[in-house]
């Protein structure tokens, strides 16, 4: 093996603190090291060329670069490796800038010592690196979009325009969603239907979109690049191609029903046009209420249809297709105000919800109001929002503004209307919102701070009595109104549960679907290839929904345009020689990525997420993780602790996502911490096994820290539970061997806790100093009967 | 250890108790603490006797000294036991390590009522003793009762106006006041009970027909002769008669019991 070792000065960043010559000298005689070189700027073109030429000229197998953090220049050197014809995974970096020069500049000697050891740890690891390849899967250009509200439509159009094949599945007979019901949009007061209908019309026109209305996702299997979809499509019994929407069928239909589209304030027939702007623009037959789909039972509509578009002889069909990515845009459900009976919704005829008011405003503008609302109107905010009593503690984000909008529109329509908005807090945070709120005030809308407690109906007049406290004035209000509007909030659509189960998507505590990262991956999910658009991720208004839809389309395009999706081969693998087929790992993989193949376990690389938590469960050391093998970690541990001499040694397992990056941030901030610490990078804290921990103590670590990511932001939500379990096992073993369990500490951290990081390291260094080294006899006992200690008697 | 000469002083202080007893004959001794001070006393004395032995004089609150009147109720603790004990001082023997107080008296407010005008109604208890509504059913009163009465139960019965139950459950009450001392709701249970018994006796209790008959007989002078005879007997003779009579009574009761 020929390892080329390069030490970077980083233009003085390193060399002003670390004595480079000393480092070079200490490495010269390391086993397997072909030579050691230094350079001012290894990442420069010149520096890279030196390495490139050395690889060619000296036939180097592997490279170790002591420089900055691998987070920083790692990709540069990996590309260089590939260019030189080597696997990018045969290179390791020793982070002597962020972890030594920048954090121990107060003690050049200690910094130099640490730099030597960090480089030796990197060499120790690289010896066992394998020439792995990037792991890739092919991705085509097909996307399934579930839900064709404004989010689904926007995403579909964006994708289709970029040449992606889109399957747009909508459960209703028409696309358009809730937006098609609205009067105008806040704060600009554009006509909602007017701005939406062109977009709706574009959908069936687009050759790249296959629109599947009245369809329901029945099953999803497979993974990124290879999702297999089954959709059940209900027949509408009216051929959309033929239907001229003349309405003759509805005229003769004997069944009259409440029209949900008009908030049940108007009626429709069993055969009906879903909305005036419906797309497909065709009548549909509501089989639930139709007298029988049978000419013998009724058949009137079929008789009158001049276009011959009605056919009763249709059945539900099942459509199957494959896609590469999925966008979930199933939207929201309005809160059903009947769940708060104290407001009499559904019981008192003059208590309506916000959506009904939308329809009243639209119908009034058309000169045919659905309901007389009178002059004195009260709005009650936060119905179905910010209310723990009904399990909806969150703010629905749109109700303040739609109430203000409706009040403005009502005032415009009839300025002498007396409108009161009873609110808890007015949340007008969007662009132009506060100004729009102010417009309402200028229009004479009165805002009263207090949530209405209950409504009563005057039995004689039907007027509604509102009871509330004016919390600013500390006086009670009890007044009659002609109409009371409940500003109902929104919740995830009813299909969410089903969708989340089918796609294995996590839900946040409010019931909406959980995004991969609240800040940086707001439209991704933890399942590769599945994205979220619109209110299914959380309450939002139309502009936010549209931006998010375009965002999710862009994220999907980004993935699909590569044609291939590359992963680091951070994957678990099984040593079939060692595996005894006990199956413990199968039960414990949260991703169901391990199964039994004959007598041994097998890892399905499509599902493995590389957390490494399975390894702790293998009593035979048969499971391992590429890039972070047991051997690699053990060699790093040994290098870090064996030659510590009289110094205390704090070993830190830092997870890739948070703790390792935090250590870099501490370096960037030039935060000083104890130079007796040695950081070992792991993909997740649950990669650390009880055995590795005991080995660390066995070889001389005085204390061991495991720093990981908080569960709520971790890509591996099960991780903390797993590592806590391992830590508990080790704590017990330590106690049995009369070693203080304080020496081992696991915690989570976030990447901005710079002071806390230093604090923890220093605390555990002090502890290591106070407790002193663990006596050799105790350390030697630690590894005896390890299997029994960790796994109980069952496996020995 | 108390010095011998002090013991003599103590002995002198209360001759009535150890009169005729030679200290040499006292085999067992106990150390007790009265108001925090240690005393060594003969172990077979009652609390009251022991306190007198230790030099305390009872002018009031010592009552009948025979376990009937309830005047000498007291509280104490035993060494090593957290429980506050209650007892009649004339009926309870001292124990080694007993912590005693001066015999307490339970001050009580007793409402004035005229039994001829009080209505025999359920709410009469609450009318005169509204504080019984404060009872939290903690049962401390029952635990405190030296007569082992179900005190809480009769207070609860009073709350729901059950005169009969109050009277029956409280029949053996000696009005010692220990329940009232311990009650966190500041109820004076024994006065409530007394009210219950009086009212029940007057209005609820159905008078026995034989009683009426006997009263008439007495009034008519049927027993005058017998009374005269008994009054003329000497003390010892009277005792004999009483014993004889008791024996017959118990025989009769046993027979009746078998039925």
């Amino acid at each position: 093996m020929r390892i080329g070792v390069y030490v970077c000065h980083c233009g003085g960043n390193i060399s002003e603190v670390v004595n480079i010559d000393e480092v070079l000298n200490s490495l010269k005689n390391e086993h397997d090291v072909a030579f050691v070189k230094d350079h001012e700027h290894l990442c420069s073109k010149e520096g890279q060329e030196i390495i490139f030429n050395d690889i060619q000229e000296y036939k180097l197998d592997k490279i170790t670069i002591a420089a900055c953090s691998p987070q920083f220049q790692g990709p540069t050197f990996k590309t260089l490796m590939e260019r030189a014809g080597l696997s990018p995974y045969l290179m390791e970096m020793a982070n002597i800038r962020e972890q030594s020069a920048w954090v121990h500049y107060d003690d050049h000697k200690k910094a130099t010592d640490k730099a030597k050891e960090l480089t030796k740890m990197a060499i120790a690891k690289v010896r066992y690196n394998e020439p792995l390849s990037k792991y890739s899967i092919d991705i085509g250009k097909r996307t399934l979009i579930i839900g064709a509200g404004i989010a689904g439509i926007q995403a579909a159009l964006d994708l289709a325009d970029s040449g992606i094949k889109v399957y747009l599945v909508e459960k209703d007979p028409s696309i358009g969603g809730h937006m098609a019901q609205l009067s105008r949009t806040f704060p600009t007061e554009d006509c909602s239907a007017c701005i939406l209908s062109p977009k709706m019309a574009d959908v069936p026109e687009n050759p790249n979109i296959e629109l599947l209305t009245y369809g329901e996702i029945k099953d999803v299997s497979g993974y990124l690049g290879n999702f297999h979809i089954t959709v059940n499509r209900k027949p509408t019994y009216v051929d959309a191609e033929k239907c001229t929407a003349c309405g003759d069928c509805a005229d003769v239909c004997p069944v009259e029903l409440l029209n949900e589209y008009d908030g049940n304030l108007a009626t429709r027939k069993a055969i009906y046009l879903p909305t005036k702007i419906a797309v497909p623009h065709s009548y549909v037959l509501d089989t639930e209420h139709c007298l029988g789909l049978n000419p013998l039972a009724c058949g009137k509509c079929q008789e009158v249809c001049k276009a011959d578009a009605i056919n009763y002889d249709l059945y539900e069909e099942e459509i199957e297709f494959d896609v590469d990515t999925i966008i979930v845009a199933t939207g929201f459900e309005l809160f059903d105000a009947k769940e708060k009976p104290e407001y009499g919704f559904g019981k008192f005829k003059n208590v309506i919800d916000g959506m009904q008011m939308e329809r009243i405003i639209v119908s009034s503008a058309e000169g045919n109001p659905l309901k007389d609302i009178g002059k004195k109107i009260a709005y009650i905010q936060c119905i179905g929002s910010r209310d723990k009593q009904i399990g909806r503690p969150y703010c629905s984000r749109i109700c303040c503004m739609y109430a203000i909008k409706q009040a403005n529109l009502l005032k415009k329509g009839m300025p002498d209307r007396d409108i009161y908005i009873f609110y808890i807090d007015i949340r007008a945070f969007g662009k132009g919102f506060e100004e729009y709120y102010n417009t309402a005030q200028e229009n004479g809308v009165k805002f009263i701070r207090g949530k209405v407690a209950e409504l009563m109906e005057n039995p004689d007049t039907g007027k509604i009595i509102v009871k509330a406290e004016d919390t600013l004035n500390r006086q009670m209000i009890e007044t009659e109104f002609d109409t009371v509007v409940l500003s109902v909030g929104i919740g995830p659509s009813k299909t969410t549960e089903n969708i989340s189960n089918m796609l294995k998507l996590a839900r946040s505590s409010d019931g909406f679907l959980q995004e991969a990262h609240p800040k940086f991956k707001p439209v991704d999910t933890l399942v590769p290839g599945i994205f979220l658009a619109g209110t299914i991720q959380g309450p939002k208004d139309i502009p936010d929904t549209v931006s998010q839809a375009s965002g999710s389309a862009a994220r999907a395009i980004r993935l699909m345009n590569q044609g291939e999706y590359f992963f680091d081969p951070l994957l678990a693998f099984v040593d079939e020689e060692k595996c005894d087929g006990c199956g413990l790992c199968v039960d414990h993989c949260p991703y169901n990525a391990i199964s039994m193949a004959g007598k041994t376990a097998e890892v399905n690389t499509a599902f493995c997420s590389g957390c490494g938590s399975c390894i702790s469960y293998c009593p035979k050391d048969a499971l391992d993780l590429h890039l972070y093998t047991n051997k690699q970690l053990l060699e790093q541990i040994k290098e870090a602790v064996i030659n510590k001499g009289d110094e205390p040694r704090v070993l830190v397992f830092a997870d890739d996502m948070t703790a390792y990056r935090l250590a870099d941030n501490v370096g960037n901030a030039k935060g000083i911490y104890s130079p007796y610490s040695r950081i070992i990078k792991v993909p997740s804290s649950c990669r650390v096994t009880p055995k590795l921990l005991l080995q660390a103590f066995h070889y001389g670590a005085d204390s061991v820290l495991i720093l990981g990511t908080e569960t709520k932001s971790s890509p591996y939500p099960h991780c903390q539970e797993e590592i806590e379990r391992s830590v508990k096992i080790v704590h017990n073993i330590l106690k049995e061997n009369e070693i203080s369990d304080k020496r081992l500490f696991n915690t989570t951290i976030v990447t901005v806790m710079i002071k806390k990081f230093s604090g923890i390291i220093n605390t555990y260094t002090d502890l290591a100093k106070t407790l002193g080294p663990i006596p050799l006899e105790k350390r030697e006992k630690l590894l005896k009967d390890l299997g029994k200690k960790i796994f109980g008697g069952s496996h020995e | 250890m108390v010095k011998k000469d002090i013991m003599e002083e103590i002995a002198k202080a209360n001759k009535s108790v150890i009169k005729g007893v030679d200290k040499k004959d006292i085999e067992h001794w106990a150390t007790i603490y009265i108001m925090g001070k240690a005393y060594r006393v003969p172990a077979d004395l009652t609390i009251m006797q022991a306190m007198e032995y230790a030099g305390y004089k009872f002018i009031r609150s010592c009552g009948c000294r025979a376990g009937f009147c309830g005047a000498c109720s007291t509280i104490y603790r035993l060494k090593g036991d957290y429980k506050l004990q209650t007892a009649m001082a004339c009926q309870t023997r001292v124990e080694d390590g007993m912590y005693l107080v001066q015999l307490p008296f339970s001050p009580a407010e007793k409402p004035i009522y005229d039994i001829d005008t009080v209505e025999y109604e359920e709410n009469s208890f609450l009318k005169y003793f509204p504080e019984i509504a404060r009872c939290v059913s903690c049962n401390t009163c029952t635990k405190a009762c030296p007569q082992d009465l179900e005190v809480m139960d009769f207070i609860q019965a009073a709350l729901r106006g059950d005169f009969k139950k109050v009277a029956e459950l409280s029949f053996d009450c000696i009005q010692c006041g220990l329940c009232a001392i311990r009650c966190p709701a500041e109820i004076v249970q024994y006065n409530v009970a007394q009210f219950g018994r009086i009212m029940y006796g007057k209005y609820g209790f159905k008078e026995n027909e034989f009683l009426e008959k006997r009263v008439t007989e007495i009034k008519e002078g049927k027993f005058d002769k017998e009374f005269k005879r008994l009054l003329s007997l000497s003390g010892n003779k009277i005792v004999d008669v009483y014993k004889k009579q008791q024996a017959t009574k118990s025989k009769y009761l046993k027979k009746g019991g078998k039925k």
């Binding site: 009976p341 039995p459 | 359920e122 939290v136 059913s137 903690c138 049962n139 609860q156 709350l159 729901r160």
Partner: protein, 300 residues
């Protein structure tokens, strides 16, 4: 069916008619309400401070009696405890829930009780109305001798049957258990928006005037909706709504008295039980004139 039954103080004094009629009605339906052989105050009003245990001794002690009844075979494997009084129901049930959930506190209570056996947390406190619901309204309808179809009844829940949520026998904002019961008895149940409004409860001791104001509001609301008689299940509500009408009438001369009775009284009437069992003579505002007018009683 034999079920342990907890009466409570007022059922033995001011609300005897409630108890008598309920026991009779239960009997008609094949349920024997077996009074706890020994019981104490339910501990009303439920103590609300987190550190207070002593006020929970009373309710828990009563629950222990249910265990004892089972041991003594007075009932057979029946750990439900039925109450009639809404306040007792609320207090017993709420304490029960607290000590079922909180093992440590239960142990503490057990250690303070000392003389009783330990409470094991296995008793279920139910209200008689729940038993009726379980029996089934069809079966109740079957027993009707005199349907209540001539009466316009307002059903009044008050607080303790409904709130807090975990204790309530029905939806706290939209209850209908009493409506369903009386509809099954053939009655016309009127709308009554104030049916769950508080009557002022124990404030009647300190401030009868304001309780009378509430009584006025509540009963006026019932009358506005054309009720002729109000039913309730709480002796304290009954007292406030019934007896406090005297003050109401002194303040509002136009106010016409309206009888307030226990649900069981009207049930007994519907079941054709003896008029003494119905106990209409002990309500403050007599329901007898109304019932006579409607032909439910013969004129004497």
């Amino acid at each position: 069916m034999k079920i342990p039954y907890y009466p409570g103080c007022t059922l033995k004094t001011k609300a005897k008619n409630f108890e008598r009629s309920s026991i009779a009605v239960a009997e008609m339906l094949g349920v024997e309400l077996v009074e706890l052989p020994k019981w104490n105050c339910c501990g009303v009003v439920h103590s609300l401070t987190s550190d207070d245990l002593i006020h929970h001794l009373a309710p828990i002690r009563n629950l222990v009696r249910v265990q004892e009844m089972n041991e003594e075979k007075l009932v057979e494997d029946e750990f439900r405890l039925v109450t009639l009084c809404s306040m007792c129901y609320n207090t017993l049930k709420r304490s029960n829930l607290r000590f079922i959930e909180n093992y440590e506190e239960r142990e503490k209570i057990n250690s303070i009780m000392e003389r009783e056996e330990d409470y094991k947390g296995n008793v279920k406190v139910v209200h008689f109305l729940e038993i009726l619901r379980d029996i089934g309204y069809d079966k109740i309808s079957d027993k009707i001798k005199k349907p209540l179809d001539k009466l316009k009844i307002a059903v009044y829940y008050g607080c303790n049957l409904l709130r807090p949520k975990e204790v309530g026998i029905d939806d706290p904002e939209n209850p209908d258990i009493l409506e369903t019961l009386f509809e099954s008895l053939g009655a016309e149940v009127t709308l009554f928006p104030y049916k769950k409004m508080c009557c002022g409860s124990y404030q009647t001791v300190l401030d009868k005037e304001s309780v009378a104001d509430l009584t006025y509001n509540i009963l006026s609301n019932a009358k506005e909706h054309h009720a002729e008689i109000v039913v309730t299940s709480c002796p304290l509500c009954a007292f406030n709504l019934d007896n406090r009408q005297e003050i109401v009438r002194s303040k509002h001369s136009e106010f016409k008295a309206i009888p307030v009775v226990y649900f069981s009284q009207l049930m007994a009437l519907a079941f054709g039980l003896n008029i003494e069992i119905c106990g209409f003579d002990s309500n403050y505002i007599s329901a007898l004139p109304l019932l006579k007018k409607k032909g439910y009683l013969k004129n004497k």
